[in-house]
Symmetry: C2
Subunit: 142 residues, 2 copies
Amino acid sequence: MPKSESVKHRSGCPISIALELVGDPWTLLIVRDLMFKDKKTFGEFLNGGEGIATNILSDRLARLERAGIVTRQRDVADARKVGYRLTDKGMDLAPVLVDLVVWSAKHEVTDAPAPVVREMRLRRDGFLKQVRQAWRKEAKDA
Amino acid sequence: MPKSESVKHRSGCPISIALELVGDPWTLLIVRDLMFKDKKTFGEFLNGGEGIATNILSDRLARLERAGIVTRQRDVADARKVGYRLTDKGMDLAPVLVDLVVWSAKHEVTDAPAPVVREMRLRRDGFLKQVRQAWRKEAKDA
DNA sequence: CCGGATCCGTTTCGATACTG
DNA sequence: CAGTATCGAAACGGATCCGG
């Protein structure tokens, strides 16, 4: 299984997608938790990802760190605590996640359409800007 | 592993994503081949997906069909040939795929930035409309 | 030949138990 | 709290076989 697949468009242009991160469900869930929620620690992912095993979580966090999508840092106050944070590269995945949430809400998930989903769909650009801004703000606080 | 994961946003809204299709790399490749290229048949996916085994391909196509993302139909002229086609639900994945291609081009793939990627990024809405139109046209021809 | 189905050795996953 | 170790179960991939 190659990491990214490159093929020829009929017009002759390569259309490649990186698979190793999006090709895995757990990875997606972690990125989503980091992006749209306040989850930052191992334990929070454990409860939020709903059913992920500790070894899998550990492995995926390591992969994401190696891929430059998240950074890992010990809490200066509490040395036991470890915090994860999306990098700029990781935040660039926001459009993908947003589209995915919107698609899921339309076709798969039976929940009543949440206001957040409506905003994602109707004010996409604004929503993305807002998420990015919140991320930057959090960086300064830390 | 649940099919879709629903959690609470800090504002109290559920943010769910369907995982069974995007969580798998092969599935994504097949959808991409269907969407952006002319690939339609089993054999074309085999060569295009670059390295997928026949049993895996068969399984993924069946899953996609069950999920209502592709349809399967025998060629009326040549009974040996089988064609696959994206449904409307499948075409709704275009935004996700486009974002993914753009992200990959920026962060992962070393290829020179293709003109198609530029168009996806700079004229996103127009590109999506164009893809959808081509899909509709193909439906009429068949 | 095309479009798969089946079998099988190998790899990976994931639940639980355990450790610092 | 933040992970490792272990081990059975599942998925993968390669080859081969089969029906039209």
